[in-house]
Amino acid sequence: MNAMSHVQSGNAYNFGFLDEYAKKEVRRAILKAIAIPGYQVPYASREMPMGRGFGTGGLQLTLSLIGPDEVAKVIDQGSDDSVNAVNLRQFIEMTCPGISTTTKTAECTLIQSRHRIPEQPLTSMQIIVLQVPYPDPLVVVEPSEDKRKTMHSEADYSRLLVKLYEDIVKFDEITISHRYPTRINGHYVIDPSPIPRWDVPKLNDSAAVILFGAGREKKIYAVPPHTKAEPLAFSDVPFQVEDFRDEKGRRRACARCGCTDAFLDEFVADSGGKTWQCSDSDWCDAQLLPAKRLQGEPA
């Protein structure tokens, strides 16, 4: 595609903001990342006009992959309307004239997300790009990138496993709440970005391509479709997702849609009491529709 034809007058920025050389480099890194599942490919991350840590890595992936027929969805904390999601979506709309955006998971071809994988299972026609603050799961046990590189290449994750073991000794529980270290295709362990443990099983045997972009740390990595993704655990201490049961052991339901099989956000209401709601706003809306129809309300 000749990107020069997309230069906007008065804006002077290329289609997709980045120059074509930069996009090509990102795409090369993506191909390498897919070829070596879970391996962190270094790349020359460009500065974006939003803060490092706000999704510049994910955005570079999105802008390098996006084409004029794309239907993009941007979420942050599961919500399409979160300030950062709105900001990124507006930027994508501004720099990629002609593309469409949606809030519906089922309709999009490309999702950029921070901290969540949608509840609705993704398809082989979709790509999900996750924003990554810390690309390396070994950083909790080894600050030197040079040493971590060697540990990864030797698949030496013993110190991570020792950390998990020490957690069990100290707390009788593995204390890692999110960014749960996950072994991809039997070799590299990745930091799956700060998704909750709830979303980790969605990495395994995913139909969609899952891409990870760390802009500040300048790394790209991937979980290709239908690849094995196993959270680190012990045979006698299995991996566990977040527990949404109340004191009586009943699964809490979303206060809005009533759903009992989604990741919930906890709110402290003005009255001081607690309510629970779906974190994935599109999922919540989709559950709400049939519920309303059932009650005879207009949707």
Partner: protein
């Protein structure tokens, strides 16, 4: 309740931009003579602010730097960030060969190593020996008097004939055999940090390029730790020069090197304690090098000290943070560090929910009898 659950994130962003713009222009509320800051006024009267932003932005575009300063209300981190983001959309069309800094059009040049240096010391514009007393007369400066000052200064300037090039102090030391000779490495292709990721161990040119566009305060803090005792570079400033460096580019048709313009830079060369040659040769002084866009002396000196510290660390292993290439080079970029510090203000509901789950479960278990 939260800014995710409520619809209207877009309105909130627009509102935040509008109130910031209100603050920028609020002087006009009750002052009919209020005027917007002219780009030229920033370029000239806030020149060190422009120098800093040009340097940290990593692109020599003083006018856009001034614009960035204006739109960020004088926040240097934000201004350098805006300039860098603009820069990252520009393709790399050409590369200069190594430029010869003896050919700089100097405005200032000093050496703290020798009283007299070939070509002479030239103090130039510096606050080094100024008394930092508030100049209260500037509180209400008359425009006419303001315009007269520079004219009067030029009129009274002696007609000095400056040579086209000044020799380097280091060359004199080198000729005496006190410094190692320049090796062929000088003409290697420089590492381009805008096109290649930093993978350690790095060539020295990658370290220098990273420091050249580093955030001034970050660089100074780490260099200062070395000066104070977390390190032992003990530098002597062999030469610090500030001036306009001619930029030579290959002509697009003939390939012949052609002067395309000039950039204001600061260059600092420090000499540090001597080391024994590895293969049993004579001991020699060691060198640290710093250079950056704009007139930023503290930055250039800090960079030179850290260059020396990093070379030492790469050779003997890092004994201090300032000698560790990863520690220094991955923590001095202003765009990276300010971005990440700011990102903590974003919603972290999901991860915090996950944290709550872990803590509650752990608390429950610790409450149980063993």
């Amino acid at each position: 309740m939260s800014y995710v659950a409520i619809k209207g994130g877009g309105r909130a962003i627009a509102g935040a931009a509008a109130v910031t713009e209100y603050l920028r222009t609020a002087e006009g509320l009750d002052n009919d003579r209020a005027e917007p800051l002219e780009i030229d006024a920033i370029l000239h009267q806030l020149r060190h602010l422009v120098d800093r932003v040009v340097s940290e932005g990593g692109v020599y575009h003083p006018k856009f730097a001034a614009l960035a300063i204006k739109q960020s209300l004088g926040d240097t981190l934000e201004a350098a960030f805006a300039l860098r983001a603009w820069r990252s959309t520009r393709p790399r069309l050409s590369a200069t060969p190594p430029l010869d800094t003896t050919r700089m059009r100097l405005i200032r040049r000093i050496s703290s190593a020798f009283k007299e240096i070939p070509g002479g010391q030239m103090l130039g514009p510096t606050p080094d020996y100024a008394l930092r007393l508030l100049r209260l007369e500037l509180m209400d400066e008359s425009p006419d008097a303001f315009r007269a000052v520079a004219r009067a200064w030029l009129d009274n300037c002696p007609d000095a004939r400056l040579p086209d090039s000044f020799p380097k102090v280091l060359d004199a030391l080198r000729a005496e055999g006190l410094l190692p000779p320049v090796t062929a490495a000088r003409h290697q292709t420089a590492f381009d940090i805008t096109r290649e990721p930093l993978v350690f161990p790095l060539p020295r040119s990658a370290a220098l390029a990273t420091m050249a566009r580093a955030e001034t305060g970050s660089l100074l803090a780490i260099a200062y730790s070395n000066m104070r005792g977390y390190g032992d570079v003990h530098p002597t400033v062999a030469e610090l020069r500030v001036g306009y460096l001619p930029v030579l580019l290959p002509h697009p048709v003939t390939g012949e090197l052609t002067e395309a313009g000039e950039v204001l830079i600061t260059e600092c060369e420090v000499v540090a304690m001597y080391e024994a040659e590895e293969n049993g040769g004579k001991p020699m002084f060691t060198i640290g090098y710093g250079a950056c866009f704009g007139h930023n002396e503290v930055k250039a000196i800090s960079m030179a000290i850290l260059d020396r510290a990093l070379q030492k660390g790469m050779q003997d292993g890092a004994a201090n943070p300032s000698e560790d290439p990863e520690f220094v080079l991955l923590h001095v970029d202003g765009v990276d560090s300010m971005g990440f510090a700011s990102h903590y203000k974003m919603p972290h509901y999901v991860t915090f929910q996950s944290d709550l789950d872990r803590l509650r479960t752990t608390q429950q278990k610790s409450g149980e009898p063993a």
